[in-house]
């Protein structure tokens, strides 16, 4: 296994493990909310806010992973009609757009958002809202790492063309 695919496998494994744990907490937390209301008669007051935040973390980790494995919904009926060279060109273009998007939207915008919201404490848990927001720039960095690791696959597409 090449060093690149080793790094990618490691990164995949970390993200999936963290997201799986968060997913299980989400299920248990929602069940706890039902149980606390009906069985214990005192509704849990913290789950609503906590689960909302964990949902964002789980989704953005899942989204980052899906960028790594090219699983986001996209239309390919037009680009599929191109020849290998055209496909390589559009693949590079798409990746560039994704990187641009990650830099402007997730990293720059995300860091702004972390700064602006760091003055707020969340109403129920009393934690810094900036902390919750930090997953946005984090996911931006993960996506960029994935796209950098993916560059080596361009060569493969190009070589296939040569065959």
């Amino acid at each position: 296994m090449s060093i690149v695919s080793k790094i990618k496998t490691g990164l995949d494994r970390i993200i999936l493990s963290v997201a799986s744990i968060l997913l299980l907490i989400l299920v248990l937390g929602a069940i706890w909310q039902v149980v606390s209301r009906y069985v214990l008669g005192s509704p849990s007051t913290f789950t609503n806010e906590l689960l909302g935040f964990l949902l964002i973390w789980t989704s953005l980790l899942g989204a980052s992973y899906a960028f790594g494995s090219n699983q986001h919904l996209a239309l390919t009926f037009a680009t599929n009609k191109l020849n290998k060279k055209g496909q390589l060109a559009t693949t590079i273009f798409v990746d560039l757009i994704i990187v641009l998007f990650a830099v402007v939207f997730l990293i720059i915008g995300g860091i702004d958002a972390v700064n602006i919201t760091s003055v707020q404490t969340t109403p129920i848990l009393g934690i810094s809202k900036g902390l919750v927001y930090s997953i946005i720039p984090i996911s931006g960095f993960i996506i960029i790492i994935y796209k950098l690791l993916g560059i080596s696959s361009y060569k493969k597409i190009d070589q296939e063309e040569g065959e």
């Binding site: 909302g52 964002i56 989704s59 953005l60 992973y65 699983q71 919904l73 915008g109």
Partner: protein, 434 residues
């Protein structure tokens, strides 16, 4: 140029351009929103607001239901539930000419109802039904078409994530009311396909299944009962007010785990695969929800919904014409766009228009989802079409012809649902949800 018009052109122009070039829809939504936003405010404002809306769009307790329904759907796909529901469906409709086609439709309605996914249903039911039909000399293109056309019924029959997404973007339309409103249209969708299938089967002399005796029938019902009671628990729990839609979805996860344990079809080593499937689907869908909320912010900031309303109302203020126009637009959108992004992007534009002409938001939710259900079965982009074609192992070109025949009942049902609001609103009204 008028600022709103400029923003509209930039927004949709870059969006469709990026889409054609194969950029992921969520990224296309995000990038075109930023560019359109730049025509209105400086860059540092749009980048912050984009991040804020991404966060705010996902930060909703209601959306948690989507993760849970995906997880329970994934457990069910791996849990031996499909075959039990197929046996049950066969018991109901097996005595009709072309019984396997009807079994396929009812199987999709039952399985789709529980799993809430047209794609999962087309795959799970189709992969069992298509080989059986082949053995009985059905035209494989016809059986694939029936499977594909009926697979979205479960997106209307509750529980269904399509209505959860709609509830959220429409500003809190009652999920219970939407769920109840989907029943009749979803059942009609299935029935209308069965009617056409009936005539084709008679013409082609497709066989009728053998009679089953009472004892066999009872065994089939008992075997399917635990799966069916999931519907009772989830929908009953929501309508009776025992739990919210989100909590019901969490209950569905636990219930489907218990089912899988009873049926003994899920092994421990399936669990990472199920979790991974759910995390990817969640990431894809909720990221789209997040980026779409920046798009709706930009549209609101630029005044696009108002602009569109004025434009459409200037064509006609007759509700019949406006609904007709909307159905045409939504069918076209559906040909290339998946359900969730289409709901997210077009609800903020269309909802103000229809409420303006006195259409109930619940009724409109059903119309919208019905249109987009047809969309996922059409080329060039249709998730149900792709999956249905691949499990049947029949190329799309061959499926198109029989599929076109099935679009006729689908579109007729769509128009019935559009113009007779009681088809949607009868049950929610009966239950006092409206």
């Amino acid at each position: 140029m008028d600022a709103t018009l400029l923003a509209t052109i930039v927004l949709f122009g870059t969006f469709f351009l990026l889409l054609i070039l194969g950029v992921p829809i969520s990224v296309g939504v995000g990038v075109s929103s930023i560019l359109a936003g730049l025509t209105l405010v400086p860059l540092e404002m749009i980048t912050f607001t984009a991040a804020q809306k991404l966060f705010g769009g996902i930060n909703s307790f209601t959306l948690l239901a989507i993760i849970f329904f995906m997880l329970s759907g994934s457990i069910m796909n791996n849990g031996g539930i499909a075959i039990r529901l197929i046996n049950l469906a066969k018991l109901f409709v097996g005595r009709l000419p072309g019984s396997l086609a009807h079994t396929n439709v009812v199987g999709n309605m039952l399985f789709g109802s529980i799993s809430g996914s047209a794609v999962a249903s087309a795959a799970a039911i189709g992969s069992v039904m298509n080989p059986l039909q082949k053995k009985e000399k059905y035209d494989p293109a016809f059986s694939a078409a029936v499977n594909i056309a009926s697979s979205p019924a479960g997106l209307l029959i509750p529980p269904t994530t399509a209505f959860i997404v709609y509830s959220l973007v429409s500003g809190g339309t009652s999920i219970s009311a939407l769920f109840m409103a989907g029943y009749l249209p979803g059942i009609l969708m299935g029935l209308s396909i069965m009617i056409v299938a009936y005539f084709i089967a008679r013409k082609e002399k497709y066989p009728i299944a053998e009679k089953v005796n009472f004892k066999q029938g009872l065994a089939v019902v008992l075997d399917a009962l635990p799966s069916l009671s999931l519907i009772v628990v989830v929908i009953g729990g929501i309508v009776a007010g025992i739990f919210t839609a989100t909590e019901a979805a969490a209950v569905a996860v636990v219930y489907s785990m218990i089912l899988a344990a009873i049926y003994r079809e899920i092994k421990l080593n399936h669990i990472p695969k199920i979790l991974k499937e759910t995390i990817v689907m969640t990431g894809v869908v909720l990221f789209l929800v997040g980026t779409s909320s920046i798009m709706s912010w930009v549209m609101a900031y630029a005044g696009i919904p108002q602009y569109m309303t004025d434009f459409l109302m200037s064509i006609s203020d007759n509700p019949i014409i406006i609904l007709l126009l909307m159905n045409v637009i939504l069918l076209i959108i559906g040909t290339f766009m998946d359900i969730t992004p289409a709901i997210l992007i077009f609800t903020p534009i269309f909802l103000p228009i229809v409420t303006n002409i006195g259409i109930d938001p619940v009724h409109f939710g059903v119309i919208l989802v019905f249109n987009l259900c047809i969309g996922i079965t059409t080329p060039p982009v249709g998730s149900a079409l792709f999956v249905g074609s691949s499990v049947a192992n029949v190329p799309i070109e061959r499926i198109i012809k029989p599929l076109f025949l099935l679009y006729i009942p689908l579109v007729i049902t769509l128009f019935l649902v559009t113009y007779f609001e009681w088809i949607s609103l009868f049950i929610p009204r009966l239950l006092g949800l409206l």
